[in-house]
Symmetry: C2
Subunit: 302 residues, 2 copies
C-alpha cells in the first residue's frame, strides 16, 4: 500500500565530533521517505527552492519515491545549521533559514488521491490538519510533532491529534504535551486526545508503543552503537521504517505493530552510522533483514 | 547454589512525592538478599548497631536468609536520609550517618566457607577486595560500585575489578569509570579491566548486558510503571534477582545470563511499587513468574 509523507525537504549544515558537512540533503520528509521506500511505494509533498537540483531530486527518485508532490518555489530551500557535542542526544541549532518553507502551503497532486496511508511530518499542526482533511480516504494517519508546536500552537495540535491514528514523539515531547513527568501517565493522557497508538522514542534506549485499549505496551530496543556519526534524521527514519512496514502489510494487527517497532529501530540504527542520509542511500534490503535478526537476538530469550 | 552478599544493612528515612517513611529497613545487602532469596539460599555479611532489633532481623530470616554474618556492633546502625522529586531518577541526600558502618571490617563466618557465589555490594573497593580474597573458592563474583568510589578510590576499585566476573553499574557510573561518553565504548573499556560480563542499568529504560568476548549485547526492558512510589533499592534488587537466578542454575550459559537480566528487571519493577522493601516482603514466586511473562510479552515478537 502506498504512503504519502508531508514534511520538509531541506539542506542541513552539520557539525558533529566526527566531522562537518555543508548543505547536504536533509529534512523530515527526506529521511522518512528514503526509509519507508524499502518497504512500500512512497509519495512526497514538500517545497524546495531554486537551489534544489535535479541531482538532489534523483536521490529520492532513484529509490522509487514519487516526487511529483515536491513544489519548486522561487527562492532558497529551507536550510538548517546545527551541531552535536559529545552528547549526541542534544542538538544545538546554529541557524534556521526557513526560506521557501516559511510559506509552505502543501498541495496534493490529484494523482495522489488514491494514497492508502498518510504521514504528517513535523510541520505546523494547522498545515498537518489541512493535509489530513484533503485526504479523507486514507486508511491510517501517522504524525510527528515537536516542542515548538506544543508550546506555540497547542490548540491547533490538539485539533490535528483528533484525526491522527498513530503519534510518534520522543520522551520530552510526550511529557510536555501531557504535562506529566511519568511517561506512562503521559502516554495515557495523550491516548485520550485522538491517537489509538502512541510511539514514544527514547533515543539510544529504543522506543515504547502504547495502546489506547489499555493492553500492555511493547518495547523495541535501539542498537548499542559505539560511534554515532550524526544523529540527524534518526527519528524521521524510525517513523519511515515503522509506517513503511505497516503499509507493506495487508492488515494492521498488534503483531504487525510490534514488527514495525523493530523495523523503525533497525532503520534508525543505520542512519546514525553515517552523515545525513548517506547510509540510507547505500542500504540494501538484505542488510535490513540481517539487522532485524540482530535486533531479535538483542532482545529475545532463547 | 548459595550466594553471599556483603554490603550495607541500614535504615532509610525517605521522602517521595507519594509519602514519607522514617527509619525503615534499607541498605544494599537488604535489598539484594531479599530479592535473591526468591531464587537461591542467601548469606549476608554486614554490620548493624544496637538499634537494629530482632524484628528487623526477622524480615531477613523469614525469607530464609542466613544472617549469621551480620555483626552487631555497639553504636547506631547506618542511617541514610534522602528524597526524590518529580524526577525519580535523582535522589537528593539529606544526611548520611555512617555510624557503625564507618568502621565496617567484614568478617566471614567459617560456616560460609562453602559459599558458591559472591556479590560485593556497594562498599569501599578495598573492603570488597578483602572479602573477595577471603573467599578464594567462590565460582563467580559479582560487584556493584558508585560514583563516590570511582572518584575517590579509583586505584582500589581497579584492583578489585581484576577479581570480579560480572560488574553491575548504571549509565553514569559506566561513563565515569571509563571516561567515555558512549556507553558502548565505555563498556568495551571496562571489559578490559577484569569483568567478563558487564550489566549497565538504564533506570526506567532497562539494562544492557555486554560481553568481553565481543559477541553482541543483550537488552532487558524495565516495566513501564505509572507511579514509582520509591525508587530506593531498585538497583540492588535488580542485582539480587540477576545473581540469584544465576545461582539457581546448574551452569552459567549465555542463555542463563539473558534470563537473569529479565529476572533482575522483574524484581526491580516490584521494589519501586512500594516504599522500601515492603513489596519484596509481601511478594510470592507466582507473582514473579507472572511478571516474567509480562516482560516477555513486552519485548518479544509474536
Amino acid at each position: 500500500m502506498s504512503i504519502l509523507v508531508v514534511g520538509s525537504v531541506a539542506f542541513d549544515t552539520l557539525k558533529t565530533p566526527f566531522g562537518v558537512r555543508e548543505k547536504i540533503l536533509g529534512g523530515s520528509a527526506t529521511y522518512f521517505s528514503l526509509s519507508a521506500s524499502f518497504f512500500t511505494p512512497v509519495r512526497v509533498v514538500a517545497v524546495v527552492g531554486d537551489d534544489f537540483t535535479a541531482e538532489h531530486e534523483a536521490v529520492l527518485t532513484s529509490r522509487g519515491i514519487d516526487t511529483r508532490g515536491i513544489e519548486h518555489a522561487s527562492g532558497k530551500t529551507f536550510h538548517w545549521g546545527g551541531e552535536y557535542g559529545e552528547n549526541v542526544n542534544e542538538a544545538k541549532t546554529n541557524f534556521t533559514d526557513l526560506n521557501v518553507f516559511e510559506n509552505f502551503a502543501p498541495k496534493i497532486p490529484a494523482a495522489f488521491d488514491d494514497t492508502h496511508m498518510l504521514f504528517l511530518g513535523n510541520i505546523q499542526p494547522a498545515l498537518q490538519l489541512d493535509v489530513r482533511r484533503k485526504m479523507p480516504k486514507v486508511a491510517l494517519v501517522g504524525a510527528d510533532s515537536m516542542n515548538l508546536w506544543i508550546n506555540i500552537a497547542r490548540a491547533e495540535l490538539l485539533e490535528t491529534l483528533k484525526e491522527v491514528d498513530i503519534l510518534l514523539i520522543n520522551d520530552g515531547e510526550a511529557k510536555l504535551l501531557a504535562n506529566e513527568n511519568s511517561l506512562v501517565l503521559a502516554a495515557k493522557k495523550i491516548l485520550t486526545l485522538g491517537p489509538r497508538s502512541l510511539v514514544i522514542k527514547h533515543g539510544e534506549y529504543g522506543a515504547t508503543l502504547f495502546f489506547k485499549d489499555g493492553s500492555h505496551p511493547f518495547r523495541a530496543p535501539a542498537l548499542p552503537i559505539a560511534e554515532v556519526q550524526d544523529p540527524t534524521g534518526a527519528g524521521d527514519t524510525f517513523a519511515g521504517g515503522f509506517m513503511g512496514y505497516i503499509a507493506s502489510q495487508p492488515k494492521l494487527t498488534r503483531s504487525v505493530l510490534k514488527q514495525a517497532m523493530f523495523y523503525g529501530g533497525v532503520m534508525g540504527s543505520f542512519t546514525v552510522e553515517c552523515f545525513g542520509p548517506e547510509r540510507l542511500i547505500s542500504l540494501t534490503r538484505e542488510e535490513i533483514d540481517e539487522r532485524f535478526k540482530l535486533f531479535v537476538s538483542l532482545t529475545h530469550l532463547d
